[in-house]
């Protein structure tokens, strides 16, 4: 089962057959619902941006090159950006051969159009957080038709800025979209804030009419390899090649249908009856892998660029002091049988998370040290950590017998005879997660740690695990898990400023460490290529969260004669590289 974590190179070789239709199953409960490339909060799901990129070429995007993830490739509009002025200025050169489907070339003006819209309406843009794009751009300069230059508010780590900021950039058809009202004159309205707001409002209003995506001429002006053929309000999307496409990656297929499903089970049933060419199966079915292969499918795990973890609430009114003790976190991490869970519960489709940087696939962001698990499953080690800090077993529960702050004592704020019992808020609705939590509960109990698992739907878990101060009501939760589908998907660069820096928006457990903050700062702002390694190594050991097995984005099932499928860890897809081979052409 080990190979499922590796990115399996797409079988290639056999001669492509032009044409054909592929039906791809969308993830459970995923209904594509936004086409306008500036998505408002709530519409930023991966499947939306993946589809948008098929119609509107990204300027930069995560592209897998060997074992590295890089921002440019044959499908991106931008060429390698150039940093200057002590990394305070970045110049973006654009490809020259790309034109809109109405014949107009794609130019720097189209990027400016995007920037104006985003700047005027950042509150309505899902990717916006305070201080980042567009706040970090002091000045946007159009150098020429095919070059733009950004003047930044300070120096940035070029790798981070390209990977996590420039990838947000889009070229939008200004010549077609820059009108304040329907039927209004096309002009440079975006250049004033009020104008940009009006233009944005109009485009958003069109995007709010899902039923018209297939027919609205607005969305027919595209520069990507595909265009919309139909967009049903159930979320089923059909795309066909864009005949006016001037780029290099021309589709081989005639048509691709993206099919939404409510549940993995219903998808699976359809999958079995041959209703999809490219779908997925529940991890549990991996045991039946051979049967699928014999029916002419291949199975491959689509590893996500993500980490999974259980959040510790360092401010918990119930067990905050315990959470704050590194040795307790270490003991608990020793009790997480990540390999066992991955192999048995996830049937091999999940991979251990070893630190804040994804360990699979192995990329340039991972140092050799980060690939080692510092806290392998070891009940005795865990017990030893506890006993050496003054905990002893009483009726199967560890209780603190040596309170105090000494190195052999329980630690600050832990009272004498305090038992080690914790509650965990966990996401419901997934057998794997439920099982994982049972395994965790069971193994924690072996060291006397009593875990109460309360299951809630994802939304409730998210709603309940708010970052809180110990004085707030509702701050009695100890641990929280919402990683059935991976806890955190990274953009290209796996920086953790939103997760682990003090007071960050997704730092639900209020982890706070000056050292970590310093390291995160370095990842964002210094041009030191090792900053990421230092950060990763430090947090792997410090355990700001309990690392848990990271499930695959999906366990894909792909028709044997469908080739050219690359499963990008950032979960985008590029059907332009897919093609059929003659039936029977061996893999």
């Amino acid at each position: 089962t080990q190979q499922s974590g590796r990115i399996v190179p797409a079988p290639a070789g056999a001669a492509p057959v032009e044409g054909g239709t592929v039906t791809m199953a969308l993830p459970p409960a995923a209904t594509p619902n936004w086409i306008f490339p500036i998505g408002p909060p709530g519409f930023s799901a991966t499947y939306n941006s993946s589809l948008q990129q098929l119609f509107f070429m990204p300027v930069y995007d995560a592209v897998q090159q060997g074992s590295d993830l890089v921002p440019t490739g044959p499908g991106t509009l931008g060429e390698k950006p150039v940093y200057s002025d002590g990394d305070k200025t970045v110049t973006v050169p654009l490809r020259r051969d790309i034109t809109w489907s109405d014949g107009t070339p794609v130019t720097a003006r189209d990027i400016e159009f995007w920037f104006d819209l985003v700047k005027a309406d950042k509150a309505d843009w899902a990717s916006y957080t305070v201080g980042t794009m567009p706040d970090d751009v002091k000045k946007f300069e159009v150098v020429n038709d095919h070059t733009v230059r950004l003047h930044l508010d300070r120096s940035y780590n070029p790798d981070w800025f390209t990977a996590n900021q420039l990838t947000l950039m889009r070229a939008l058809p200004q010549q077609a979209w820059d009108a304040k009202s329907d039927g209004g004159k096309i002009g440079d309205w975006d250049r004033t804030t009020a104008g940009a707001k009006a233009v944005f409002a109009r485009l958003t209003a069109h995007a709010r009419n899902l039923g018209s995506y297939g027919s609205d001429p607005l969305w027919q002006t595209v520069d990507g390899p595909w265009k919309i053929a139909a967009w049903q309000d159930t979320g089923q999307v059909t795309i066909v090649p864009n005949p006016k496409y001037t780029g290099t990656q021309h589709p081989h297929l005639d048509k691709v249908v993206f099919k939404p499903f409510t549940t993995a089970d219903s998808e699976y049933n359809v999958m079995r009856s041959g209703g999809v060419d490219y779908g997925y199966i529940p991890p549990s079915v991996l045991a039946q892998k051979a049967r699928f292969e014999s029916r002419g499918y291949r199975i491959s795990s689509w590893t996500g660029w993500a980490v999974s973890y259980i959040v510790y609430n360092f401010h918990s009114t119930h067990a905050g002091p315990e959470m704050n003790q590194l040795y307790i976190r270490q003991a608990m991490q020793h009790l997480v049988d990540q390999n066992g869970m991955s192999d048995v519960v996830w049937q091999g489709s999940a991979k251990p998370t070893l630190g804040p940087v994804p360990a699979f696939p192995k990329t340039q962001y991972l140092s050799p040290r980060m690939a080692e698990n510092p806290y392998p499953y070891d009940v005795d080690a865990a017990r030893a950590l506890l006993t050496s800090h003054g905990w002893s077993d009483r009726d199967g529960t560890a209780v603190c017998t040596r309170p105090g702050t000494g190195s052999t004592e329980c630690g600050a704020g832990i009272k004498k005879n305090a038992p080690l019992n914790l509650t965990l808020l966990s996401q419901s609705g997934s057998t794997e997660t439920t099982n994982m939590m049972q395994v965790l509960k069971s193994s924690l109990s072996r060291a006397g740690i009593d875990l109460t698992v309360r299951q809630q739907p994802l939304n409730s878990v998210l709603g309940n695990s708010v970052a809180c101060k110990a004085t707030d009501p509702g701050c009695d939760w100890d641990m929280s898990f919402f990683g059935t589908a991976g806890s955190w998907y990274f953009p290209l660069n796996p920086s953790g400023e939103e997760l682990f820096s003090t007071g960050a928006s997704a730092n639900f457990g209020n982890y706070s460490s000056p050292e970590a903050d310093k390291l995160i700062h370095a990842v964002l702002y210094s041009s030191d290529q090792d900053a990421m390694h230092a950060y990763g190594e430090y947090l792997s050991e410090q355990l700001p969260v309990m690392w848990m097995p990271n499930p695959a984005y999906q366990v894909s099932v792909i028709r044997g004669d469908l080739r050219g499928v690359r499963q990008n860890p950032t979960a985008t897809f590029s059907p332009q590289s897919w093609y059929y081979v003659k039936k029977g052409a061996d893999q």
């Binding site: 089970d265 048995v344 609705g429």
Partner: protein, 301 residues
Amino acid sequence: MSVISPAVAPGHEEAAQATPSLARRTVQVFTRNKLALAGVVVLALLLLFCYVGPLVHPTDQVHTDLSQANLAPGSAGHLLGTTDLGYDLVGRLMVAGQSSLEVGLAAGVLATVFGTVWGAVSGYFGGWVDAAMMRVTDAALAIPAMFLLVVVSAIITPSKTVLILIIAAVAWLSPARLVRGEALSLRDREYVQAMRMMGGGGARAVFRHIVPNAIGTVIVNATFQVADAILYVSYLAFLGLSIPPPATDWGSMLSSGITYTQNGYWWLIFPAGIAIVLVVGAFNFIGDGLRDAFEVRLQKK
């Protein structure tokens, strides 16, 4: 000549004709209903299995054992195999059955008690009290139970008590309506009028006359309520709302077993599924038998 001296008065010779006591006759009629009898037997067996079984066949239903996961039936020491976490399946069925039965019974009884009082008060007092109480019932009925459960399952962290309350909250409606109907007809009965004529009040009417006389309906309904409650437990599990592990119930076993449908791990699906069908069926059979028994009594009148 007065012929009605107590000595001659009929009564003694009539004792021969007097019918056996209500309870006895109910039992008689009930036992003649073969399905009801089968229901009792099945239920008794299931109870034995769930409550005495663990004594005979002790298993660890707390600690997982991944090395023993998904063993097929017949593996050493595991008659029905093991679950995906290595629990012995037979032992698991036993503890799961305990939860299912306890939650089902408690919810069914709670719903029946509440519904009965609600319905009896509404029906007996009539007028605007009835109108108000019934509109509330109507409104709750107009939201399909499953919809409510879906919403609730998106809100609530389950525990046994919570499950009982949730199920009772959707299940009290049918006894309420039923008992209200009974109360409406009972309150016009002459014996209730007679009691009012003697100066008796509403509370006496409801608790001494209406509820006891609707008791047949109530008991029969309660049996069906318990059956429905056990079904609801399984639906809640299907909707992702089940007792926190490592505790479990048949519904949760079934719905998590569904994950393994395709692997041919039938022992994760069918034993639990069949247990649900059996226990719900058994309660239904019993309810039907009781209804027969009570109806016969009514006919005799």
